[in-house]
Amino acid sequence: MTPEGSLLVAEGLHKAYGPTPALDGADFSIHPGEVVAVMGPSGSGKSTLLHCLAGIIAPDSGTVRYGPHTLTGLSDARRSALRRTDFGFVFQFGQLVPELTALENVALPLRLNGTKRKEAERQAREWLERLEVDTVAQQRPGELSGGQGQRIAVARALATRPRVVFADEPTGALDSLNGERVLTLLTDAARDTHAAVVLVTHEARVAAYSDREIVVRDGKVKDMMAGLI
């Protein structure tokens, strides 16, 4: 399955931690601007798939292609560079640097890309406004509520205007109302910037924010749209 115009394509991914396979021949593809939910029971390999797709870990076999690049053939340094410039990340918890203010946290990936501090913080402030958390710009993560923290994390993931946003259970630690608000803001912002979103979740209501879902079961991926066509 190699749909035309795909931004990120993975084929035949295998990855094992010790004797247990986490991925066992997984395929995946996503178009620019598409929101794809990765569903499946816990331990099915959802997060491993996300880590492989994002080039955080290297699969044992199989390929991940991103635009003209074959991620699986790149050095760790090149993959890191790609993650800095082209990818954004939101995790469930514990992702904000506790010493930095909300503003500095959002500016961090921009600064890692070499943007000057002033400019980075100006852009960061825009994202904070967009995610409705500009009032807490000068506070540190320890002083924020869970919902505020996740919005900061979303702002940080989007600040570099990434082509792909990887979100691993982004609302897992939030109540429904906050979770839905964060998802609305994330998917709206991603659609505006034409970014693809890989949304790992085990919750149907979260997956309902996607355009399409895939199910990971026993390390294999089932694309639900393919079944319909």
Binding site: E203, A204, R205, A208, S210, D211, E213, M224
Partner: protein, 174 residues
Amino acid sequence: MSIGHTLLGLLESGPRHGYDLKRAFDEHFGHDRPLHYGQVYSTMSRLLKNGLVEVDAVEAGAGPERKRYAITDAGVTDVAQWLARAEKPEPYLQSTLYTKVVLALMTRRDAAELLDTQRTEHLRLMRGLTERKRTGDLADQLICDHALFHLEADLRWLELTAARLDKLAEAVRA
């Protein structure tokens, strides 16, 4: 729940007398509501008329007990189509879904496929509701949320059933 499809499905594993059909139905699906004989024979005569079953053998004696029914090719196709078709997501679907899963297992069809199809259908509806919620007013949001939570509950049931298919298959085929 479609009794016709269920009986057809039960016939797929081999020809049966009407009484056998009732017993098998009660055993698997009629825990709280056993089937009447009348319901069985009226359903069978409808299926006969539509060519989905045929009378396999007529034994000596009087009364309907003499007839043994067998499924036709058209009947098998009909069961397959029914199983593959996602139910319209609505509350309290599980009795239908349960019947379908059990029948799929009994007839050695892919029950997981069935569940996945249903999940996709559920999610399709949930996407629509979510979209409506995003654009709608507070009343819309509340109504949509109600539906969404129910659908989510069904989906959880689907997930759980999917995770227990192997055990269910053992129980059904025993």
